[in-house]
Symmetry: C2
Amino acid sequence: MPKHPDPSRRSERSRQAILDAARELVSEVGYGKVSIEAIAARAGVGKQTIYRWWRSKGAVIFDAFLALSEAEEGGMALPDTGDIEADLKLVMRATVAEFADPAFEGPIRALNTEIINDPDLAAQYRERLATPVDEAKKARLRSAQRAGQLAADLDLGLALELLYAPLFQRWLHRSGPLTPEYADALVDLFLKAARPA
Amino acid sequence: MPKHPDPSRRSERSRQAILDAARELVSEVGYGKVSIEAIAARAGVGKQTIYRWWRSKGAVIFDAFLALSEAEEGGMALPDTGDIEADLKLVMRATVAEFADPAFEGPIRALNTEIINDPDLAAQYRERLATPVDEAKKARLRSAQRAGQLAADLDLGLALELLYAPLFQRWLHRSGPLTPEYADALVDLFLKAARPA
């Protein structure tokens, strides 16, 4: 969250309008063509209002994306029914569906375009978004380790890369279909690697 | 390769100079700031010479990258000593080192920035670069299946995603170190998933 000196309701409404405008414009015209001017016009605020809270276009769009992610997840904990296979298939089917959804598509591509080329934004992304989400995922894997469903010596960071990176790359390069069957096959192969020997 | 009407030595020299200029400029100033004008000036050719062979900046840089990859690989076949673990560790250590090399870094990031946002270029990338390379990798996995070192029913496309996507994502998001130890750990976990049951 950016610091803003006046945390009144009016200020919060402006902030929300700016984030909504940023997200809509990215989806409509693509990251490259969005300008601070267009965001300000759409949100009904002056450019200076945006620059008071954010240092760049990339920073606004990053917060717009972060707000979306927070609203969607409603708490980051993964389901824990005691069955790691069922829980991971549920989560990965939902994640695949999210990547295949045009409403997410635009902002997530815009964010990735930025973080590829901006090491500072990549660091912000890790700290503010990726790391908290990864910790929630690791908590579920740890619970499965305690239940004897995953190997006790599994490297959880590497395990998360094995589970999520294939989907991310397939989506980014548009190199294959994003289907429930794909989610299931990915979880099955992941579990072969992650189960106790 | 672009079609060019005059396949003389002079024409080939111009083409090479353009590809070299494109690669150098991307590494020096980043994809966003490279222009067709700057490539033409650096290569000592006119803009029209570039537009005769390529339809866009993205297309020139794509070919520059492709030429680099072809020169580096010198044939795409993976080593086959009969030991899939040793061969994959050799290949993945080399691949990790390549991603960590600043000389590759610039062009590969530029290429990925383009293919994220340009579905046509993504399709070209799959057809001209990813698919031939994947076929060479699959040939090595098939040889290991015949030797009983990998499961006979392993889905080779999914297996390649599991092996390469974690490295790709870690590099793209700068989310962890790219070391020989990482390459080995990735191959070890991959093989747990891929070995016969």
